[in-house]
Symmetry: C2
Subunit: 518 residues, 2 copies
């Protein structure tokens, strides 16, 4: 099938099921689209059974995991995560095969998944992002079918509606009590919010809270996942490497080019008029995004503007803005560094929200849909403002969707910040290799060579002109960039070998990633 | 059918469905009982729809409420609740008929339900308790079928497994934001925990948050019900009478008889050895129960015992114990007075839990099942230790199951405190009129005439003897009481007219309440 953006997408891929082609960012959000979450079997538990075990093998056996089932993990422990590696190692030893691995993201910490795929232990993958060795491996077609890439809102929707049905969730929980009440806000492997894990816990058939910090019942004062959703508490020596758990993808920048892009983005945001009392704001943890946050921080402080909430992916910078009184509260679905864990533990205005509250498009409302301003990164942007955050210059899988598509669709102003080219390859392309976020939902692209505003946003163009900002036509910018870098060789792909499907937040397929021809 | 306690119970009653007879307190808790929660349809919402309305009629219309559906309300606003009366008045005006009214409890504030039943607006009732005019009305058989009485754990179970399927939940929420994030911990009608409402919010097809304190998005710092579960925010002038919201059924006692019962109960608890570091405790809000709490409070303070948690039904007294450092935390499913609302708002160790976390027997675990000690009241107890908390001396419906059966089944020590007779009628009966809590789960009955210990608890009898407590055989006590009061005239009931079914926590029917012959 060809979707409304002209991309080839499949109708059905096992074991994921049937798909509809993407038909517009809000095509399923008119109030007319309905569905049915499936029936869920349950077992009334034996009174007084002991949930705690110290044997991974025993936990896997008790979970009833068998060939062909779906297991889930989260990435709140970032690049320090040891939970997936140690659990999957035992599953592999036990000879269980043909699993669907449903991860919120696969990171540098998850290289072992390559071996699991090679051995047939894992034969299908759901993830918002595929980084490192797993991304490279899946890019070669080794899975034998495409991975299904789902952003954070999409995953929450899929779990709720049952299109992603998790048999066993192994959830790293930095502190848990003997009954399974659990949190990420304290313990030696503290990671902050457990927002993504909270959804898996609510819907998986069997939930294992994996911890290295078992505390007496009841956990207090913060329970992120309540006991009644947890079937087993598995105590292991360590959830991972605290140094790598503490530092995620957060990077502060001193690069003059990045700072100049950030300053332009800030000026556009200021010109939009949205940076006013009661405003809400999200920015990622990339260098330019953080620099935009710094400009916003300074401006709000100078002007005495108190915003409503910062959302996301919460960085130490956002917690500083909370402490400075620049926001009433933080809504935290995922924390980016260790400073955040202490803030969420100590400051009640720093609120933990689950992935549905963050971005699920099929619940009655979610925080991204209330957002005023979002600042986003990109690997590639095309002249229709479509954004690619999943494939790199070589056409291979890297990066991830995260909340990119969700926030772009929900926010009043979505600003993509990016240099116009990287390593002599244009970022501003004629057509992106992979569409993850439709141009329909992207309001502006800010580069070091000026600001491109989506022609749909005449209001924003007028405001930017009034503020005398350097607006450039995105097609002209593309031509300028190509005149500098030269036209890059087109990436030739093997259309018989899809390696990833990119699911839009509403469950439709927005693009297919194919294997690159060697 | 006749159940394992010899009570006549029906196999099927519309619209509630089919029932199994009670077969023992733990018959379904061996790990073998399975079921299936039904499929749940959903509608993907229109982007950016406005949830707020100030018209009750509009809210009812938008909810899609029609003849024959099920509506739910909670009783967290206690005797001050105006939510049910004002909503039901509009529903009645609109001519909607044949509704099933699924309330967590019907109180003195809900006399209007009698008119709704008379007019055919309400034709079936679920409630944990039926007090005041509604109790009297339903006792006459005016419903034309029995009400279904479900304790707190039973209701959570029924909602989760789908045997109670709520079409529209009208949830009084003392503070809510424009997207429906809601809490009971602040606002002019603050009521404390929204533990029962939290379950309705998660499972009802359509959820209306009814508030008199609309705040900007996002509500902070405590969200009890997240926005994504809420379909509409209905703003009304007042949720009720703050004076009556503030005071529930809490009654301190200076009655020497009650104090002597309380002291005996405390001595039994002390003798049990359970009042040790890390202990957990629940006591109701009745006069004797509160007096027991006072003795326990004083003892823990003197002995320097720090307990783990107090559970329930949280009173101002429990919050004082938290402040005095006698418990690590409070787990609060329902708050009994206004002091509690400020505690839950300000002290993070005072944790709000939902009804499943409190007492749902079919989830992996719940707080009552971890409880050491519970102190419970009774309207009537029989020589098999069966307890009645739903029918009074005249055989009419009053009181309610609440968490009685749940805590009795879950706690290591369940102590019923009661005078041996009231108004010249024996409380210690040969056979209770209505069984709500099976004797199998009741460890001791403490009266002013001594302590009766369940013969199953030989260990407890030995400990009580060692402490030289005045143990009496319950049959002997019954004979003694009858010799004082005279044998009361038996209550003659009309077995062709069941007025209430008493559901045990596992969904089986433990007893039927019949209309009393005039």
């Amino acid at each position: 099938m060809i979707n409304s953006l002209g991309r080839f997408v499949p109708e059905r891929v096992e074991p994921y099921g049937s798909f509809s082609p993407y038909a517009g960012a809000f095509a399923r959000q008119t109030g007319a689209f309905t569905g049915q979450a499936p029936a869920r079997p349950f077992i009334a538990p034996r009174m007084g059974y002991d949930k705690v075990t110290r044997s991974i093998r025993e936990a896997v056996e008790r979970s009833g995991l068998r060939d062909g089932m779906t297991v889930s993990f989260h990435h709140h422990l970032r690049n320090g995560d040891a939970v997936l590696p140690v659990i999957m190692a035992v599953i592999r030893e036990m000879g269980i095969k043909n699993l669907t691995l449903a991860c919120t993201a696969l990171t540098e910490a998850h290289a072992c998944v390559v071996d699991c795929i090679r051995d047939g232990v894992v034969t299908a993958v759901h993830a918002s992002g595929l980084r490192g060795a797993v991304g490279r491996g899946i890019s070669t077609g080794m899975l034998g079918k495409p991975a299904l890439m789902q952003g954070h809102g999409s995953r929450a929707r899929a779990i709720q509606e049952g299109s992603l049905s998790i048999d066993v969730a192994f959830l790293g929980t930095p502190t848990a009590d003997t009954a399974g009440n659990a949190t990420g806000s304290c313990g030696p492997s503290a990671c902050g919010s457990l927002g993504y894990a909270m959804i898996d816990a609510r819907y998986a058939r069997h939930v294992v809270a994996v911890t290295d910090n078992l505390v007496p019942y009841p956990l207090s004062p913060r329970i992120s996942i309540p006991e009644y959703l947890v079937h087993q508490v598995l105590v292991i020596d360590s959830l991972g490497d605290p140094a790598k758990i503490a530092s995620g993808t957060v990077r502060y920048t001193r690069d003059p080019l990045q700072l100049s892009i950030a300053e332009s983005a800030f000026k556009l945001i200021r010109a939009s008029g949205l940076l006013a009392p009661g405003c809400s704001f999200q920015a990622g943890a990339g260098g330019v995004s953080l620099a935009v946050s710094s400009f916003v921080h300074q401006y709000m402080k100078e002007q005495g503007i108190k915003g409503s909430y910062a959302l996301g992916g919460i960085t130490g910078h956002a917690t500083a803005m909370l402490r400075d009184g620049l926001f009433e509260s933080l809504l935290d679905v995922q924390s980016f560094d260790a400073a955040v864990a202490s803030s969420i533990h100590e400051d009640p205005r720093h609120m933990e929200i689950d992935a549905s509250a963050y971005a699920n498009p099929f619940v009655t409302s979610c925080a991204v849909n209330n957002l005023d301003i979002v600042v986003l990164a990109a690997l590639e942007v095309d002249t229709d403002f479509n954004v690619n955050v999943v494939t790199g210059v070589d056409g291979g899988l890297r990066g991830g969707i995260g909340g990119h598509a969700d926030t772009a669709a929900g926010a009043k102003l979505s600003v993509v910040v990016t240099p116009s080219f990287r390593d002599r390859v244009p970022v501003i392309a004629d057509s992106v290799l992979s569409i993850t976020t439709p141009g329909e939902t992207v309001d502006a692209v800010v580069t070091e060579k000026g600001i491109c505003i989506n022609p749909r946003r005449e209001d924003l163009i007028a405001l930017a002109n009034k503020a005398r900002l350097p607006i450039v036509d995105i097609k002209a910018l593309h031509r300028e960039v190509v005149s500098l870098t030269g036209k890059p060789d087109p990436i030739e792909v093997d259309e018989t070998c899809p390696v990833a499907l990119v699911e839009y937040r509403d469950g439709t397929i927005i693009d297919t990633v194919f294997k690159v021809k060697e």
